[in-house]
């Protein structure tokens, strides 16, 4: 799952995949703005075959937290 999420992230941010860790924060460490982060969440719906609640998902500030949230939806 982590690899898939990293692949999605690199479609938005010009960052080397190995710089992205589970503890990386989307805004501060990876460099997302709020709109791009929302769009990336939309991509997660297809990539992980889940239906995401916008307000709930946006509360996940790190890669690890989002993975746990997505895992819980399955």
């Amino acid at each position: 799952m982590l690899e898939k999420l990293i692949e999605l992230i690199t479609q938005y941010i010009d960052i080397e995949p190995d710089e992205i860790k589970e503890e990386s924060r989307f805004m501060e460490d990876i460099g997302f703005n709020s709109y791009d982060f929302m769009c990336m969440l939309g991509d997660c719906e297809d990539a992980f075959d889940v239906e995401i609640d916008e307000a709930e998902a946006a509360g996940n500030k790190t890669v690890g937290a989002l993975l746990a949230y997505l895992g819980g939806l399955k």
């Binding site: 941010i13 010009d14 501060e28 703005n33 929302m38 939309g42 991509d43 719906e45 239906e51």
Partner: protein, 502 residues
Amino acid sequence: MAEIATLKELVYRADAVFGDEPFVREYLHRELRDKSFRTFRQDCDCFAVWIQEHFPNGVHAAVIGSTSYEYLTAWFGIQCSGNVTVPLDNANPAEKIADEVNRSDSEIVIVDKRHEGDIEQFRKLCPQVKYFIHLHEKQENMLCLADIISEYSGKVPDSSPKENDLAAILFTSGTTGQSKGVMLSNGNLIDNATCEPDRNYRGQKRMTVLPIHHVFCFTCDVLCALWYGRILCVNDSLMRIPKNLKIFQPDDTTFVPMIAASILSKMQLAAEKNPDKIAIGKETFGENFSVIYTGGAYLSPEIIKGYEEFGIDIAQGYGMTECSPRICTGVKGCPKPSSVGRRVPGCEIRIVDGEICVKSRSVMQGYYKNPEETAKTLTEDGWLKTGDLGYVDDDGYVYITGRKKNLIILSNGENVSPEEIENQFACCKPIKEIVVYEKDNLITAEVYPNPDYASENIEAEIQQKIDDVNSGSPPAKRIAKLVIRDTEFPKTASKKIIRSLL
């Protein structure tokens, strides 16, 4: 000129002309759902009859939700009953919504999931409200729109609203003081929706993205879809814009510049791996796509040029809630990308002391229960003072240079528009946000650097950019001092920087 005068007539005409053709298209639980113009008129009628039965002397009804077929049914059901819709900002906290419910004298409150948990608070804060209605679900403590529609199925209201009757009260957030309720009549909204020639839009798909309580979205997406017979494709969440573009394959859409800029930078990132930019443009926006319309904030020519490389046109317009909203519209391939296009038909523009003033049938009736602000904004002979500074060139293109209230007047008498300076930094990557103001008689730029921008010395790069811009500017418009801040600027709910707090 349109052969109709009211929003009720607009709904009825759409049924008569377009009938079973699709009006609203939504992607719900991974399936497309269409609702036709006919079904829409029928559902609006059902809700209208319920309103007439419960409020025979008229009512104001607040609608708070994101765009959906049900939201639109509530909005226009109120119109078909000859009453007043008060669309409020769904993103506001409950206290602020309650305040606007009270100040608009609303006696019905209609909500969706986002504020369903606030109903008991609304009951306490808004004692005049008689009915609460949920747009989508059955709940113990309120009515459900679907139940009302099925109970009143087949009934037809006997209302006959008139052109000059108040149709809607829309609150403008404003960057200072309390929000003001803009009163738009049936005639105002109809004029604005129907003022431009039909370019054979029938059956074309418009994806609607912006918040529905904004009149830019409401008029240009919803009213125009009803008038031209277009399919309104509902983008249900900001996070699904890229996906919904692929699902709906729209012909065009309306964005604010921030969304346009974000999508452009994603396409530019993709272009680093795949040089076929036209293919990337088609992959992102779909095969049918022709043009993005923007409004609400400044769109830099660099963004327009950037989109051109991907084969996408982007046209900038200009308007304000007080004018229903369109004053100017851009066109595909606008020859003057720094303009906001030309005035819409039927709209007169004159410049008074640098301020753009507008007269047209779209201009509001005034601010609700606020004669002082109305008198400041509308002249006795019907001109709307926009508060924007600008000019019209010899070919009729309109240019905005800034807001009158933000104008800097230096001690040497020079007038400087801060926005005119700020806009020159719109595509400067090291700068996330910039605000220009006067301090100690010096033009000062306060900058929040872009946290995504990797640099050894970002402050020096910003100073270099300022020096570059200064060298191309007249002495009175040069930035004399740079202040770096480490947090974003304070903003209103609609993400506009609150200058008065600086």
